[in-house]
């Protein structure tokens, strides 16, 4: 058997080494993903502003809608702003939002930021304010967080699985620990 010239060239290249090196570097980078990539800070005269990026989409129970949220906290205040978006085939006219775990249930009034249509989906974005201690209590609970959005005539329940909640909880706990250490 005589190899064709193109095959011989391929055989001569250390492609296995390149593949392994690339996979190693990528897996190391992903494994060692630093906590700073999950939040951002801004130091100001009246305190430090922390913003925790949205991490997971919470799927709706029995519905094809999803919810994601981010958190903003300023050290001079004792409250956290929770901004959340609901993506659904219809606009959501939310009146309130509830954050529920096995130990904590917090019902919050909510204000609309905007509702807009993108292709066939509606994005409904709202903002609410919650106490910092209440958020800390939620992230200290190992039971997954359930988010319930109340509309005029129906309630939408969004829930996340235990594995994702465990990761989100761990990251958020670390960030709030950093905040406490710097307050």
């Amino acid at each position: 058997m005589v190899n064709s010239p193109s095959t011989s060239k391929i055989k001569g290249l250390p492609f296995k080494s390149i593949l392994l090196l690339m996979l190693f570097m990528l897996s190391y980078s992903l494994y060692a993903k630093k906590i700073q990539s999950y939040y951002t800070t801004l130091v100001q005269e009246d305190g430090t502003l922390y913003h925790i990026y949205s991490l997971y989409e919470y799927p709706a129970h029995n519905k094809k809608a999803v919810l994601n949220f981010d958190l903003t906290y300023k050290t001079s205040q004792d409250s956290v702003t929770i901004n959340y978006s609901i993506v659904d085939k219809a606009p959501i006219l939310a009146k309130s939002i509830s954050l529920e775990t096995s130990k904590e249930k917090i019902e919050l009034l909510t204000n609309r930021l905007f509702i807009e249509k993108k292709k066939s989906r509606w994005i409904s974005r709202y903002t609410s304010i919650v106490g910092k201690n209440q958020i800390v209590n939620i992230i200290n609970d190992s039971e997954p967080l359930n988010i319930i959005v109340e509309q005029e005539n129906q309630k939408l329940k969004f829930e996340i699985n235990g594995k994702k909640w465990s990761k989100q909880r761990k990251i958020t706990q670390q960030i709030f620990s950093i905040i406490s250490l710097n307050e």
Binding site: K34, T40, L113
Partner: protein, 104 residues
């Protein structure tokens, strides 16, 4: 041998094409996670942060609205203090560009 040929072809195509690329302050072929300044205004104080994202897959599909307007709107910001940008890139297969707006 088919796998080797396929991998090598993909590797060369990835090298020769622009891959999933977004503008970045630094280059990282395997992995990039970097932040950079984008704009500053004379407005003082920030209590809100808004983000907007655009993504690219393999350099073939690029989508999203990473405008300052979209980021400001996402947090109800009307007075912008400053704007940062954040870039993530995994092997040139997936890239994410995020604009972060701080303001009131």
């Amino acid at each position: 041998m088919k796998f080797k040929t396929l991998f090598l072809s993909l590797f060369i195509v990835t090298l020769l094409s622009s891959c999933a690329a977004v503008k970045s302050p630094v280059t990282g072929f395997v992995y990039t996670d970097a932040k950079a300044p984008f704009a500053v205004t004379s407005n003082s104080g920030s209590s809100k942060v808004g983000t907007a994202t655009a993504t690219s897959i393999l350099g073939w599909i690029g989508m999203g609205d990473a405008s300052i307007q979209a980021a400001a709107k996402s947090a109800g910001i009307t007075k912008i203090h400053h704007v940062d940008e954040q870039v993530k890139n995994y092997l040139g297969f997936y890239a994410k560009y995020t604009v972060v707006v701080y303001g009131e």
